[in-house]
């Protein structure tokens, strides 16, 4: 098991190295961080451009630039943005922001996916199955930005009207400036009020696809011989479904969820934008690509890739827990 994990980690490092080089190449070829200054009127003096080019290392050889970045990144120094802010400072804060948004969402989504998937499989072709199938497909078909906008418009509006006060919020992690003059319960309840809608939005949209995986995995398992055997041994139906069926049927979902979490850490881009959470997704889009900032893009890439690799590894380890046959010597 240990060697298996080590082998996987080594392979991942290679993947990270290659992907960072490819992304570096693409960014170096297409980004011009000086572009926005050429058309300032009046244009900044020539010494401004010379200085900035020098400072950002744009005059250096391509491979040298990559080496500078890589040798820094290995020691945890992700360089600075074009405006001189250390990238590492931003990255770690933003992982926490994204993390806060997705943790509850993933837990809710997994529970819902299992429950709905199992019910759908056990009661295949019954009204409840059709109802869930219909709802789930509606959710899958809804674009994230629209679903989020609907939540803000109707759920936030409805709940707030019901209580006659601002209970659910649609922007940011907390009422801006609240931490300056409030503390304790008032602050935490305000943060919860901000957390609900993004969580619900992410949870429902992630759960929808996951529940289909769970349903089909469960259907496969339900028709298998060992299930019939378990029933023949005299086990109750409930016990066979939960202990023998569900446990086996969880394996495919584990993969999907693990990959899903890894990707979500890279940025639930749309959800973050719509609810104005300054997390990883926003960092890539507006600070990285929007500002033509190569260090930001690479920093983002490295951290998100690490999360994808990490959760994949966890999925592999979980297989072994769920299915003793997979355990390696």
């Amino acid at each position: 098991m240990f060697f298996f994990a080590v082998r996987r980690i080594l392979a991942s490092v290679l993947v990270l190295l290659v992907s960072s080089f490819l992304v570096f190449t693409l960014c170096a070829a297409s980004f011009d961080p000086l572009a926005k200054y050429y058309n300032l009127n009046p244009r900044p003096p020539e010494s401004f451009f010379t200085n900035l080019r020098e400072q950002l290392g744009l005059n250096d050889n391509f491979f040298l630039r990559y080496w500078h970045w890589l040798s820094g990144a290995v020691t945890g120094d992700f360089g600075e943005t074009i405006n001189g802010t250390p990238v590492a400072d931003q990255l770690f804060g933003r992982i926490l922001v994204t993390g806060r948004m997705i943790v509850a969402a993933v837990v809710i989504a997994v529970i819902l996916a299992i429950v709905v998937g199992v019910i759908g499989a056990v009661r295949q072709h019954r009204p409840s199955d059709y109802l869930f199938t219909f709802l789930v497909y509606v959710l899958i078909a809804l674009p994230t930005f629209w679903f989020a906008a609907l939540l803000k418009e109707f759920v936030a509006g409805g709940v707030n009207d019901l209580f006659g006060a601002q209970v659910l919020f649609t922007i940011g992690e907390e009422t801006p400036g609240l931490s300056l003059y409030a503390s304790g319960w008032e602050l935490w309840s305000d943060r919860l009020g901000h957390l609900v809608l993004p969580t619900v939005s992410l949870a429902l949209l992630s759960f929808a696809a996951w529940s289909r995986f769970q349903r089909s995995a469960m259907l496969d398992v339900l028709g298998s011989d060992y299930m019939r055997l378990a029933r023949a041994k005299g086990l109750t139906y409930r016990r066979t479904v939960v202990r023998h069926g569900l446990r086996n049927a969880l394996i495919p979902l584990t993969t999907v969820v693990a990959l899903g979490i890894g990707t979500l850490f890279g940025g639930a881009v749309i959800t973050e934008t719509v609810f104005v959470w300054h997390g990883m997704g926003e960092y890539l889009l507006s600070n990285g690509i929007g500002e033509n900032d190569i260090n930001v893009v690479l920093g983002w890439l490295l951290v998100s890739a690490v999360f994808v690799v990490l959760f994949n590894l966890m999925a592999d380890l979980l297989y072994a827990v769920l299915d003793p046959r997979i355990r390696l010597a």
């Binding site: 011009d32 900044p44 405006n83 802010t85 906008a149 601002q166 209970v167 940011g172 008032e186």
Partner: protein
């Protein structure tokens, strides 16, 4: 699976409980803040541009709209640009209007500072603060003791001395040669006065090092210093949450703000987010790029939300590259302009926002500036395809069978019009032009050019000159010294910002006079003379000004949009919240 079932139940209960708790908590929270934020006297401004990374406005890192908005009332300025585009001296900072005198090749400007004017730490505002602003910005050449990080040295490079008398409360600034825009020195969110006792350094190198580092947002403004009605304290900056809160400067000598807090919350540029935030009361004011559905949605929020469209100083225009074989011929440039019905272009673009939208008929001044004169010859006021065809025929073009003119040497009259990618307004502008051009026998095509604003190493950029015609914007201002680089004749490879690459000695001579002329009346005369000449040379064709859009909760009193670089928060200290 017993364990996971149990833990799942616990988790489910926890989440459900958290939601219930948040609901209860939220309800008693609503009384103190949220939609009733007016009661606690704060205004939440939804900033749609990127959160600042640096608060020092003279360098690229601090050159952001968000920084300018935050600092609109933090550092004192000698003159202030008003919403009507006029320039007014700062009656809180100064005791009388500054006087400018020119003798020979020297100009002296005298400022009389208010004896009560102090920085937030109690230090008086004196000539030293003018002096340090000058020493920071007088040169960008390191060989000359300058700071290469500076975005601009305009005006400051012409200052030869800054002297203080009356304990520094009378400041005499000497320029040589005279500077036309002397009112722009020590003015504007991006070049105000700086506190010498905080920013100065013993040597010029150390001063430049301080300029280069600027004020990173995480460290705030050094000593939390302010010389205006508001103050930004370091503890009130939340970098992760992208929130900055201004509070009144207790030591401000003038009229103090009437609102307890001015909160900047970065909300990104998603229009739905802005509108929903405004309608839920989470935001009290937004200043986004106007888009049609955004404007309509905000209009539906009346009477709780007021909104206003203004036409600002940013204007779209068409640039003709005179290095193109066709467009090198002034007749072709004029025929192009004659073919266009600019009123229709306006109606299909900015005219959709407001019936006040007008065709812009001056290269230098905007329709709502007091200096504006409509200098466009009458034939450009409507589509004039016949006259366009005559001009083309004069230049040796013949109408081909496909209805497009061709020239024996230059070939078919097909002009590609470049513009920025992903800009619907500009794309519509060009799409409206194409059939108009067709009627005059000119084939126009649209091209989204992602390299348009890039540097000289990208062949299709404006600077490199690899384009035929281009639609993009310049930002005007009440001053004149930014104009010469756009219209002066290029000197060899040094095109400046004259991407049309054409000029005349007559225009150059007028500009040379303009940048040394300090009287406003004469400046206006010269600029309008230049504009008349530009219509005859036709290097560029002005189209229309771009709208700005402000929307705010109707319980805020005193909001007046300032569609210049001063921005919407220029008078935030005078607002009241009911």
């Amino acid at each position: 699976m017993k364990l996971s079932k149990r833990s799942a139940a616990v988790l489910a209960a926890g989440v459900a409980g958290a939601m219930t708790l948040s609901a209860c908590g939220g309800s008693d929270d609503g009384g103190g803040g949220g939609s009733e934020s007016g009661g606690s006297g704060q205004v939440v401004f939804g900033e749609s541009t990127d959160f600042p990374e640096n608060l020092f406005p003279l360098i690229s890192a601090g050159n952001a709209t968000s920084t300018a908005n935050i600092e609109a009332q933090l550092f004192p300025q000698t003159f202030e640009v008003q919403p009507d585009f006029t320039v007014k001296w700062n009656e809180e900072l100064l005791t009388e209007e500054p006087v400018s005198e020119v003798t020979g090749d020297t100009q002296t400007v005298t400022y009389k500072l208010n004896p009560d004017a102090v920085w937030s730490d109690g230090e008086p505002i004196t000539a030293d603060d003018f002096d340090v602003a000058w020493r920071m910005q007088r040169s960008s050449d390191p060989a000359n003791g300058g700071c290469p990080e500076l975005l601009s040295t305009s005006g400051y490079e012409q200052i030869t001395a800054v002297e203080g008398t009356d304990e520094g409360k009378t400041v005499t600034v000497t320029y040589s040669p005279p500077f036309a825009d002397w009112q722009a020195s020590f003015t504007g969110n991006n070049s105000p006065l700086f506190p010498a006792h905080v920013v100065d350094a013993p040597t010029q190198e150390e001063l430049c090092a301080k300029v280069a580092a600027g004020w990173p947002i995480a460290d705030g403004i050094p000593s939390d210093i302010s010389g205006g009605p508001w103050q930004l304290k370091k503890e009130n900056i939340d970098v992760g949450g992208q929130i900055a809160v201004l509070t009144p400067n207790e030591n401000f000598w003038g009229e103090k703000p009437k609102v307890a807090r001015l909160v900047f919350q970065n909300i990104g540029n998603d229009p739905t987010t802005a509108v929903q935030g405004l309608s839920r009361g989470e935001l009290n004011m937004i200043y986004p790029q106007p888009q049609l559905d955004l404007v309509d949605q905000v209009a539906d929020l009346a009477p709780n939300v007021e909104s206003e469209i203004s036409f600002g100083l940013s204007f779209e225009h068409l640039d003709f590259n005179s290095q193109d074989p066709h467009l090198a011929d002034v007749n072709v440039r004029k025929a192009f302009a004659l073919a266009l019905d600019r009123q229709q272009v306006v109606d299909q673009t900015v005219g959709q926002f407001s019936s006040d939208a007008e065709v812009l008929n001056n290269h230098i001044w905007k329709t709502n500036q007091p200096e504006y004169e409509d200098n466009a010859p009458a034939e450009y006021n409507a589509a004039n395809p016949e006259q366009a065809k005559q001009l083309l025929q004069q230049s040796g073009y013949t109408l081909g069978q496909d209805g497009v003119f061709t020239h024996p040497q230059r070939g078919r009259l097909a002009i590609q019009i470049d513009t920025t990618a992903n800009n619907p307004l500009r794309q519509t502008t060009i799409e409206v032009m194409i059939p108009q051009l067709k009627a005059a026998g000119i084939e126009g095509t649209f091209n989204a050019n992602t390299d348009i604003f890039n540097g000289p190493d990208k062949p299709t950029s404006l600077i490199a000159g690899g384009f035929q015609a281009a639609v993009f914007a310049w930002v005007g201002n009440p001053f004149v010294s930014a104009q010469p680089p756009i219209y002066q004749s290029p000197q060899g490879d040094a095109v400046g910002q004259n991407y049309a690459r054409v000029g005349t000695p007559e225009i150059d001579a007028l500009f040379a006079e303009l940048i040394r002329t300090t009287e406003r009346e004469r400046q206006v005369e010269i600029t309008n003379q230049i504009d008349v000449l530009l219509w005859d040379l036709m290097p560029t064709l002005p189209l229309y000004q771009k709208p700005t859009f402000i929307a705010y909760s109707s319980n805020i009193d005193g909001v007046v949009d300032n569609p210049t670089q001063a921005g919407p928060l220029w008078n935030a200290s005078t607002w009241t919240v009911e």
